[in-house]
């Protein structure tokens, strides 16, 4: 089961510059685990202490996963997951 994961510019150092990569998993958490196996180091930039980092947005298709089930959000074949660092500051 391949799910397309769109990688933001700042994390492409982990994907050899690729803008999108494939990963698999039945939930977002599993997907990120699989992403880490394929692209070591990337997980820590997305997840901290078992939770989504506050300033990283993850979208399942067109929805922010914070409004779905967070890391437990179920994912199906053919879905697209987009990772975008929040644009924020003071």
């Amino acid at each position: 089961m391949a799910i397309e994961v769109r990688i933001p510019t700042i994390l492409r150092t982990y994907t050899d510059g690729a803008k999108a990569v494939d990963a698999s998993g039945a939930t977002l958490e599993e997907l990120i685990g699989d992403l880490e196996v394929r692209h070591p180091g990337i997980k820590a930039r997305i997840v901290d202490d078992g939770k989504l980092r506050r300033f990283v947005n993850i979208y399942l298709n067109d929805e922010d996963v914070r409004f779905l089930g967070g890391l437990g959000t179920p994912i199906s074949d053919g879905d697209t997951v987009t990772v975008l660092p929040a644009v924020a500051g003071g």
């Binding site: 067109d62 922010d64 987009t82 660092p85 644009v87 500051g89």
Partner: protein, 133 residues
């Protein structure tokens, strides 16, 4: 160096002035490093000391840029009581290494531009292209 048209500079200043005393924020999309398309964003925090793009609006704007082969050439926000220099939070959340981070201070009417990469801030010159020039 950031090279930017007078029209875009005026749009940033108008947005910042309209939202004062809250911080205003937005993006200018473009290609090959040339800022072209002005995209004012909602400050989801509606705060005089903090800004954050609304996550769904950001998703749509980033997808549009992707579809148009554009990039976020400029990411701007205002400071409403302090100088136009990146704050500690600006530096720690900066996540677009190729963007020009433009700050406009409504308090001091200062317009300045920076690169923020891996926690390091570097100010750059701003060249404003006047109409007809």
């Amino acid at each position: 160096m950031l090279t930017i048209s007078r029209e875009l500079v005026d749009q940033i200043i108008a947005h910042a002035t309209a939202d004062h005393p809250d911080e205003a924020c937005g993006v200018i999309a473009g290609r090959a490093g040339v800022p072209e398309r002005f995209v004012p964003m909602e400050n989801a925090e509606r705060s005089p000391t903090f800004y954050r793009f609304d996550s769904m609006e950001q998703f749509r704007v980033w997808r549009d840029m992707d579809d148009n082969d554009e990039e976020p050439v400029v990411i701007y926000h205002s400071h409403t009581a302090t100088e136009a220099y990146p704050s500690r939070t600006d530096v720690s959340y900066a996540s677009e290494p190729f963007a020009h981070y433009v700050l406009y201070s409504t308090a001091l009417t200062q317009f300045r531009s920076f690169r923020i990469v891996d926690g390091v801030v570097e100010e750059e010159d701003v060249k404003i292209l006047e109409p007809g020039a």
